[in-house]
Symmetry: C2
Subunit: 146 residues, 2 copies
């Protein structure tokens, strides 16, 4: 769709990086200063809702989402993982997969809620260092999907 | 887990109603005055993350989530459906499945974001009337799952 930001696929380097691309989906490591390791799994074709996909397509997309969750847990040791497909702003299917920590800026709210606290710089730096390992870990998790 | 609100399964009538119960999951129609039709799909056993489930269990749970989405779209004609598994407050797997409308109280933010507008009473009343049809529609969608 010509006016869809996700269809345009013109991710700016400051917004994040595409770390894996397949025929149907791509995985983005989002550059979020508050939430290191924030990933997005995007369905390449313009579709609004999960139930617009075939059953096989849904399974494939969710398997990717869970591969990303697995890599995030393995690399980043979050206290919780948040998974969400909202799309109110851009109705083109994309899943947010977000490592959450009890001391992060929004905990225990959602990543779209008001800030609750200021995380320590040391904690954020540590998580950014771990997030640098995510691209390889995610590619590896996807390559092992069955 | 004894201190887990979801394990206790003591949903108060004012909070919502269980509209379907299976061996592994249950579906709740949440009583949310701002967001009629808000549903939750809960994994009965205490598990924190989707990747703690087996692949078969994940598939089963997501098939239920998508059956609920399908029924919501069929009955309530939302502008968008939001799907999320957060669990920061209660780390026991539960999926929120939420019909969203451009004039609802939080649009285009998440259901956990700040209010953006006051929806008209007429619109809310209309959606509450539709939501009354959801329990049967969801049970029917689940019975047709394959």
């Amino acid at each position: 769709m010509t006016n869809c930001a996700i269809c345009k696929d013109d991710l700016k380097p400051e917004e994040g990086q595409i770390i894996w691309r397949g025929d149907d989906c791509r995985v983005i490591l989002v550059n979020d200063s508050d939430l290191p390791g924030f990933c997005r799994v995007v369905w390449n074709r313009h579709v609004s809702e999960m139930t617009d996909l075939t059953h096989g397509e849904r399974d494939h997309l969710m398997a990717l989402v869970f591969a990303v969750e697995e890599a995030i847990r393995h690399v980043m040791y979050p206290d919780k993982v948040n998974i969400a497909a909202l799309g109110n702003m851009v109705p083109h299917i994309h899943w947010h997969v977000i490592p959450r920590y009890k001391d992060d800026a929004y905990f225990p709210g959602s990543a779209w809620s008001s800030r609750t606290q200021e995380p320590s710089k040391a904690a954020l730096e540590g998580r950014r260092a771990l997030a640098a390992k995510l691209p390889n870990a995610i590619r590896s998790a996807i390559s092992q999907m069955h």
